[in-house]
Amino acid sequence: MTTAVSAAARPHRRIPGESGIWVMIAGDLLVFSLFFLTFAFEYRSTPEAFAAGQALLNRPLGLANTMLLLTSSLAVAMGVKAVGEADSSKARRRFAVGVACGAGFVIVKAFEWGAKFGAGIFVGSSEFFTFYFMFTGIHLLHVIAGLAALLWARALARQPENPRSARMIESSALFWHLVDLLWVFLFALLYLVKP
């Protein structure tokens, strides 16, 4: 009896999304770990040069992009909940907010890069800016792929009661959250830390 009660009280555990998306997420996390650690190693080797490059970044824009991705992730997570409630219109509205915030991130990043190009700063201008453009560029490609996945999820949300659609929506959302969490570390490393 005790066993049956405790088993019933225990929350049902399951892998969110499709198993394959977690293989991709694990691979991405490992690759970005190497990026982060290489950056930290090089920063420590020439701290003055890196600090000089870092001082030229527009930190408020970095913070604005952080807010956009966090808000987008919230909207997408709430969209997934709406899919679970089989509320198609609510889910589609929430995914639309997620896409709008993600598109806002791309616009802010384009503005930021444009300002750098206007000031004569490009890839190769310094070691710091080579890292900056490389990392934010690779991340931007993830953002664009994530936006395509979110638009797909929004289309699939027309049939929220279809289990296969629900799984694919979850997988798209997981990829978007991965984009968000990678930015959290990038923002800390590129814009905030001063060793």
Binding site: R13, I15, L74, L181, V184, A188, L192
Partner: protein, 84 residues
């Protein structure tokens, strides 16, 4: 509705943490502590995104532990490489 409120509360915490990390730039204390604080805030934010938005709190424990292990390992390695 309760699930939505929980997500909004997590988001509010993430936004507040982002502002705190941003504001620590102006605090002139030891750099090792400053780096540790910024990385700690980033690690907690990433854990919150994983646990709540990616629903790892409902996932098999091994998956959640692997994710948390990655966050902790990367944060400590970064701190060590930047400071020591």
């Amino acid at each position: 509705m309760i699930a939505d409120r929980r997500l909004i509360a997590v988001w509010a915490g993430l936004v507040a943490a982002s502002f705190i990390a941003f504001e620590t730039l102006a605090v002139p204390f030891a750099t090792a502590a400053g780096v540790a604080l910024i990385l700690l805030v980033a690690a907690l934010k990433v854990l919150a995104i994983g646990w709540e938005f990616m629903e790892l709190r409902h996932a098999p424990r091994g998956l959640g532990l692997a994710f948390a292990g990655w966050v902790v390992a990367v944060s400590i390695a970064l701190w060590a490489m930047l400071v020591i």
